[in-house]
Symmetry: C2
Subunit: 207 residues, 2 copies
């Protein structure tokens, strides 16, 4: 199995613009990427980063300047052509809560297509073992991926994980990192002055 982590190096994490400066967002995005790579390695696999431009990180890079969907589909098509790889996993770079256990559940689920939904309709991680499966990350990609798999007659497993459902995009997601993360991203937030704040409803963060 090849494990590919897409990374948008340009201006990452724009929905955190009210919370972190542009420099901080770039730094935090790289810290989360490092966490994700380390977590994948802890499952015994060797990740590759699919990035829009060169970044300074200790992992093999593939550079593709196109948007996420065509870049990932090129990886899937290449995997089918090579015939060496039985399966491809695509794991988002902002899954700061991911643990080796959660990723192992993803990697070892044995349907043709394994989908870990993200909160809000996205697809945060997937495994593709069917030659006709392709991605479409626009909109409610989770529902689209279920349909694409069905159209390809590929069997589908939903991987039910809060850790993999939590992509870190919005201020409230930072609370999840502080609550459940134990990697560098959690340390980074603490060093940047963030802490949990108990309000009447869900816990959020203050700085």
């Amino acid at each position: 199995m090849q494990v590919v982590v897409p990374f948008a190096a340009g201006e990452p994490k724009t929905r955190l613009a009210g919370t972190l400066s542009a420099d901080e967002r770039r730094e935090f995005a790289l810290v989360m990427l490092e966490d994700v790579l380390g977590t994948i390695r802890a499952t015994g696999r060797s990740p590759r980063v699919l990035t829009t431009r060169e970044i300074d990180i200790d992992a093999p890079l593939s550079i593709d300047t196109r948007p996420l969907t065509p870049a990932v589909n090129a990886v899937l098509a290449e995997s089918v052509e090579s015939k060496e790889r039985d399966s491809t996993a695509i794991v988002m770079a902002d899954l700061a809560l991911a643990t080796p256990d959660a990723l192992e559940r993803l990697f070892s689920a044995d349907d043709d297509v394994v989908l870990a939904p993200g909160r809000g309709g996205g697809t945060n991680a997937l495994v593709a073992r069917h030659p006709d499966f392709r991605v479409d990350y626009h909109g409610t990609s989770y529902l689209d991926h279920v349909e694409i798999a069905a159209a390809a007659n590929a069997s589908v497993t939903e991987l039910d994980s809060h850790r993999l459902a939590t992509d870190v995009d919005e201020p409230d997601d930072l609370a999840e990192v502080l609550l459940h993360g134990d990697g560098a991203a959690s340390d980074w937030l603490e060093d940047a002055g963030f802490s949990l704040s108990v309000t009447s409803g869900r816990v959020t963060v203050t700085r």
Copy 2:
């Protein structure tokens, strides 16, 4: 194992006040409760509802007018005294995404205390098999429950499930019900005119 579902019958779902009328919130809360009870029964267990006052629902009721924490702790203490029950599960009434698979993972995890965190620091479902474990639902209850279990020398499992992490409290949670729910709560939202709305970020709902 006894399975208890707490239900606040007074004015449920106040954080949906901008989205649903008071009557709708009461009705929707009962519909979610029915879904949760049906899902528990689908695992082969018989749930009991711990409610603040009598409600019209087809399940055994225990009435306790106190707040959630003392009411649940009374159930846990009674379970220890009775010596008939080896374990108690507490499942929140607004887990409209729960499936028999997700609940079975919770019920059959075999540590002294099994905790399913909710988004935002809560504890959406738990199993207690240790006589000294008690709950405290105020604030970041997930972290508090981990500490309480540690203080009691009870072993703890975190149950990592997006379906159990999603308690339906806020407007964005309704999108999760429409995306992943297949019970009466999802139908109720559709009948009430809700549909998914794709924005630039996560999917939300419109009406």
